[in-house]
Symmetry: C2
Subunit: 393 residues, 2 copies
């Protein structure tokens, strides 16, 4: 009963399942404490105390119809609160009417792509990338066009992007801080992308939408700057969730915001609301919308992630792996000592280590370490990294 | 920046917005109490006390990682609890492995259609229908094929369905108790549909999936029977939510269940899980999954809806409108006294009444009354119905 395309996808991704099953087997055999699972980007930190308190207070308040439908765009006061939080950080006058509440950033990305894509239009994706983007683009009849970033710095390459833009280019997805590299795209990087987009738009008479997927915008270290996409790109939308910044990934709460600098935004916002409804999301979950206005100033314990980054980075590099020290998200993306990263990750299993090949993010020759795991796992993994290095470096 | 298809859809549906805006104006001018708004299928009853208590208890328990990601299919114990509730009512041995938790029934419908449809395949929809079905089918490259039910009883017509089935027919959507008619498809009706499907499947060598959308399965009156789709149709899936049965529509919690009688169901379930992930739903909201195991025996106050049905039915029919007395959901679907139902509903506004034309449900010549409104609104509306009857009947 399954469509041909999905059957093919299930087959193609069977190696991922096999790897997870091997991980499960390792845990059963050696105990979870003796398995170093760096495979999942699942925030393990609890939501901020403030968020928990607001949630309790809201549930106990038991306001009539608090679990009912609201406008597909979300509660008016929640949209206003999100807009206010964006005004503070994005440097542009975002209003409630520019914000549409969403079921997480994954939902938001689908809503944006559904709203803007005509069949066969192209979407530029910068590798390494969050692998789900390719499915999201395909869902709505788009064609992904992969453009590699620099293999040393993972910074975008404006010249390559220039060459990849065609008259059919409808959008480019920017994800910074990046999953899987953890790298923040520098101001120079995004400004140079903006220049080539402006140039190509004029040349082809097209409009290219910059979709900025920012779930890690609050997971930033060393006082690094994440340039405001709304300031740099006029034709832009921001997609975000509170999965990472408030550690609420299971609750599916996020938003899309349209850059007010676009000018006349009502068609675009109406389109986003229409897609929210007709893709079956209907509205972002009511209760987790309600807690936002009082929770937006809260933040998950970034210092804990930072400490882990420093620990893991030291272990990995001391063992001899080549790795950039990223300033955001909760990932390291070291170079694989052998070109075949899938083989390398498969070999790592014998040291009880579960890691994800760069190939899964469109970037062969690397592997991703998600350090949203407790410190003990990081400390205990040192010997495994050393053994891996001894065998492969 | 909006795709051509969505721009066209926004234009097409502008009359709905215009009607809602007129309704808002009426409320501002005459006060909400003097406007009879029967337009929205938004359950106004509170969730059962039991559900509220379980929600409070769960939030206060503050179990570690309770807002984190879980398997895309949902929590194992929640899937098992939903399976158990289905075993009790559907007459087939549903297991946890047949259930995938969803973001509401709207999400579930999209997940099912995405999973089964190859491009250009046809999906039979019985009119009158929930209008969103047409968008859902189009999202995934399917072609809706509309088949009218009987204009007196709103029961499906097996012969017409037989004639509508082609080698490209991939699925048929059944929605009983029905939105907008409130009618429950009789055992004879569904069994006769099953016969023509069996016949056509053999003839064409195809597999036709029956998608049973059952959000109103608990909103049933007069001890009426809703035949088990899993018993009647072998190749079937159930799509449902707790939006109506537990009055939680804003929280987006539902499920899809695969009929164990299909036999080998693992590809189909894997496909559903894949689509849940890649459509951006990722998982059904964590907290509202967690409250289900203890809430599934609870039920919204159906007797309140029944009383309203009886009151509104009496007012409408006494005023002279022709209307079947339905045994489910919270809708009446009377015949429009003039053929142009859009015009009729527009004229109703001058009596401060907001109602939805049957044309919006693919069934010209009728109008829908949603009676999830308080009794006072129903009582007060009597004069408006009488005035409408005096003018049009």
């Amino acid at each position: 009963m399954v469509s041909e395309k999905i059957l093919a996808n299930l087959k193609r991704s069977s190696w991922i399942r096999a790897m997870f099953e091997q991980g499960e087997n390792l845990r059963k055999k050696y105990g979870a404490d003796n398995v170093y699972d760096f495979s999942l980007g699942n925030p393990d930190l609890e939501p901020p105390q403030k968020v928990k308190e607001v949630l309790k207070k809201t549930v106990l308040s038991d306001i009539p119809k608090m679990h009912g439908y609201m406008s597909n765009a979300g509660y008016a006061d929640v949209r206003a609160a999100v807009a206010e939080s964006l005004r503070k950080t994005k440097g542009v006058p975002v209003e409630a009417s520019h914000v549409v509440m969403q079921c997480g950033a994954g939902g938001a990305m689908n809503v944006v792509l559904k709203t803007i894509l005509n069949p066969g239009e192209e979407v530029i994706v910068l590798a390494p990338y969050f692998a789900e983007y390719l499915f999201y683009i395909d869902n709505h009849g788009g064609i992904p066009v992969i453009v590699d970033t620099d293999r040393e710095t993972f910074q975008p390459d404006a010249e390559k992007i220039h060459d990849a833009i065609t008259p059919k280019t409808r959008a480019i997805i920017i994800n910074s801080p990046n999953n899987p590299s953890g790298v923040i795209y520098s101001r120079r990087s995004v400004e140079s992308i903006s220049e080539v987009i402006e140039k190509r738009q004029k040349e082809f008479g097209t409009t290219i939408c910059v979709i900025s997927d920012e779930p890690y915008d609050k997971i930033v270290y060393d006082g690094a700057e994440v340039p405001s996409v709304f300031e740099v790109f006029r034709n832009s939308v921001i997609v975000n969730s509170y999965s990472k910044s408030l550690s609420l990934p299971g609750e599916r709460i996020g938003f899309v915001a349209v850059n007010p600098r676009i000018g006349e935004t009502s068609d675009l916002v109406d389109g986003l609301i229409f897609s929210t409804r007709t893709l079956g999301f209907v509205n972002a979950p009511a209760l987790f919308q309600r807690i936002l206005p009082e929770s937006l100033d809260a933040q998950v314990a970034v210092d804990v992630y930072k400490k882990r980054r420093d620990m893991l980075y030291e272990i990995v590099t001391k063992a001899g792996f080549k790795c950039i020290k990223p300033q955001g998200a909760f990932y390291l993306f070291p170079q694989s000592p052998i070109e075949d990263d899938v083989k390398f990750c498969s070999e790592a299993l014998k040291y009880n280590m579960i890691i994800v090949p760069g190939t899964g993010f469109g970037f062969r020759g690397f592997f991703r370490l998600a350090y949203c795991v407790d410190e003990k796992t990081i400390v205990n993994s040192q010997k495994a990294f050393e053994a891996l290095a001894a065998e492969f470096i």
